[in-house]
């Protein structure tokens, strides 16, 4: 082998939500440094929420993340409901679940089309695609706009949600709105989604595997997104209240975000983790999408997180068609959310599009927050990304520097990181 130096830094990796850096330094195939750095300015939400009333906490918490605001709202509300012992009505659960489906769908479409597809089409962003691949971009915009409208009908505004509160909802969709969503899901959106699957299955995802632990919420009878237990590919399900025994957060100097580990050196969360833990509970049409991608559980290739997102997109569309059928059959009626404030602690767990998310609050007897702990999926994945880097780089070190750089950036983007939750992500330093 000829003498070759590979030195680069990707400062603030693009097309991810938040800031991160990749630093690589290698000589003659010997890797001296390979590091995933998080320099994002921390927000201090856990400190900031102290002293606010529970309803202000629920309204402010979605501001942790512009993309998964509905997920943060639901984790925040679930934690509050757990602390106060609130039981939701069947109607509230149906409304909440289809709102959450809208969140998952919209985020997955944004990620696969706007943040992932440009790498495969050899461009820096979706913007030049507007002229070269107009039909693709218009389809992506159409699906994303529909996803926003779908969520808006239930929560008033997707970024940041308004009408969902502890104990249920304060605004209710009309029958016409429910019918409109259902017609779209069964018609135009189903067709667009099928074309999307056909498009993305032609992309050649990098061939890379690293076996690890996968963690996701799990329920006996449904593909879980809200509540249930903490499932793992390595052990039996664990109660949500024991989340700190699963996440084991630790600080590392290269990151303003805290990292996590459970039974192995790292664990992965997100669409692929959910697929690996819960694949048998997918809707039959979603299982067909998995087959189209050749996706079989357990799958150890992190680049296929994007494929798992399309599998889930089909699942949530099918799931919400069933929910809307129920709401239309029973008829939707205004219900007043009932909340009795009391002192106590509650933990809420949801599957944000990019993985398991925990909010843990302690309230005083007036309902003011006195302590908060929030663990976000992107932070849970940092350690997994670092371990993927450690295995991936030696496998591709003989390739040209630009190719190495792109593959490593693509790996980070595959995780769909959302670093502003915590901190920002990706600077690839080939120094």
């Amino acid at each position: 082998m000829t003498t070759k130096e590979v030195n680069f830094t990707v400062h603030h990796v693009a097309r991810i939500e938040g800031h991160g850096n990749i630093i690589v330094n290698a000589k003659d195939g010997k890797i001296e440094e390979c590091k995933w750095e998080i320099p994002e300015s921390p927000r201090f939400f856990e400190s900031m929420l102290r002293g606010l009333s529970y309803s202000d906490v629920n309204f402010i918490a979605p501001r942790i993340c512009g993309i998964c605001a509905v997920a943060h709202a639901n984790a925040s509300i679930a934690a509050t409901e757990a602390a106060f012992g609130v039981k939701l009505s069947e109607q509230s659960i149906l409304m909440r679940d289809t709102l959450f489906d809208a969140e998952t769908f919209t985020s997955h479409i944004l990620h696969t089309y706007f943040l992932i597809a440009p790498d495969f089409l050899g461009v820096g962003s979706v913007i030049p695609l507007a002229t070269t691949h107009t039909d693709v971009v218009l389809r992506a915009l159409r699906m994303k706009k529909f996803g926003n409208d779908w969520a808006d009908i239930f929560c008033g505004r997707k970024t940041h949600p308004i009408s969902q509160v502890a104990g249920g909802f304060v605004k209710f969709p009309t029958v016409e709105q429910l019918k409109w969503i259902k017609d779209k899901l069964e018609g135009e959106i189903m067709k667009d989604l099928e074309i999307s699957v056909d498009l993305f299955k032609t992309l050649k995802f990098p061939d890379f595997v690293r076996e690890t632990e996968y963690i996701a919420l799990t329920k006996p009878d449904e593909y879980a997104f809200i509540g249930g237990a903490i499932g793992s590919t390595d052990c039996k399900p664990m109660p949500i209240n024991d989340y700190q025994k699963v996440t084991n957060e630790f600080c590392v100097p290269q990151s303003t975000a805290k990292w996590t580990k459970h039974l192995r050196e790292s664990f992965q969360v997100g669409a692929l983790a959910r697929f690996n833990v819960n694949h048998d509970k997918l809707h039959p049409k979603a299982k067909k999408v998995a087959q189209a991608f050749g996706l079989k559980a357990p799958c150890y290739n992190p680049f296929l997180i994007s494929a798992a997102q399309l599998v889930e997109s089909m699942h949530v569309v099918e799931n919400s068609i069933m929910i809307l059928d129920k709401l239309l059959t029973k008829g939707i009626k205004p219900e007043k959310p009932e909340v009795k404030v009391k002192a106590g602690r509650g933990v809420g767990a949801v599957e944000a599009p990019r993985g398991i998310l925990f909010h843990d609050y302690t309230f005083d007897d007036a309902g003011k927050c006195i302590a908060a702990n929030i663990i976000i999926p992107t932070n849970e994945n940092h350690n997994s990304i670092q371990h993927d880097f450690d295995k991936l780089l030696p496998e591709i070190i003989d390739q040209p520097q630009e190719k190495i750089k792109l593959t490593m950036e693509m790996l980070v983007r595959a995780y769909d990181p959302c670093v502003s939750c915590s901190t920002h992500m990706l600077e690839v330093k080939f120094k």
Binding site: A14, P42, F44, M48, A69, S125, L141, K145, G156, V170
Partner: protein
């Protein structure tokens, strides 16, 4: 030559940039009229020259302060986009505590590894040419600003309080529902979206320029509230405001 437009994100949730992506089909037309040269959330293409720089988020580290000054030097027009940049937004909630306390609460024994400075709005560090308020900003207002800049027209902020649009939306007053609403003192332009959505106004678009002080005092008295109560409530989105004035 088309104007070069850049988006820069500081400390925040990036929801403002997302609202721009949410122009949906309109964004295709907008892209035709300008060159988007920096948009890290959606693009890996970079540039160092720009006519219009949109600033999202607050500056909360010394590094952020240096960066905003460099951006100001290169930008002809600098726009504060969203509450975090305009007023400090929810990020200023941390200013209620000492920075040492914030670091200790979040990082515990590892607090010494990190630093942070009190949240300030962008205007505390550099000259801001236009403000687009809100958390999140109203996307139509962003489009209106870009159109004004393209055609050389003056961009005017909405002057009336949220109550005006709220009445037009035929909402029941949130005070009547037992809520503490900031609509009477907050700049409108949001179509009173939060009250229409069944809640109240949290004041994310900052106070109106000339609030009707006497009427607000009367209103507060009628519901057994005080000016101090109102200022506490206003702090949720405007905790760093005195610095921006």
């Amino acid at each position: 030559m088309k104007p070069r437009v850049a988006f820069f994100d500081f400390t925040g949730c990036e929801g403002c940039q997302l609202e721009v992506l949410n122009f949906n089909l309109e964004i295709v037309d907008l892209i035709g009229a300008v060159d988007i040269v920096e948009f890290r959330e959606a693009s890996s293409d970079h540039s160092d020259e720009y006519d219009i720089a949109f600033i999202e988020g607050s500056q909360t580290t010394d590094r952020d302060v240096e960066r905003i000054q460099k951006i100001r030097e290169r930008a002809k027009i600098l726009v504060a986009l969203g509450a975090c940049s305009c007023t400090g937004g929810v990020n200023a909630l941390k200013n209620r505590f000492s920075m040492e306390e914030n670091l200790k609460v979040v990082y515990g024994d590892s607090a010494k590894l990190y630093t942070t400075i009190p949240t300030r709005p962008t205007s505390a560090y550099v000259k801001v040419d236009a403000f687009i308020h809100g958390c999140p900003p109203n996307r139509n207002e962003v489009i209106r600003l870009v159109k004004c800049l393209l055609t050389g027209k003056k961009f005017e902020l909405y002057h009336d309080p949220v109550c005006v649009e709220c009445k037009l939306a035929e909402n029941i007053c949130a005070f009547e529902r037992g809520e503490f609403c900031l609509g009477p003192v907050t700049r409108g332009g949001c179509n009173a979206v939060c009250v229409t959505g069944g809640r109240k106004c949290w004041g994310c678009r900052a106070p109106v320029d000339e609030p009707n002080v006497n009427s607000e005092k009367e209103l507060l008295a009628r519901y057994g509230l005080t000016v101090d109560d109102m200022l506490m409530q206003l702090k949720i989105f405007n905790g760093a405001l005195e610095v921006s004035k």
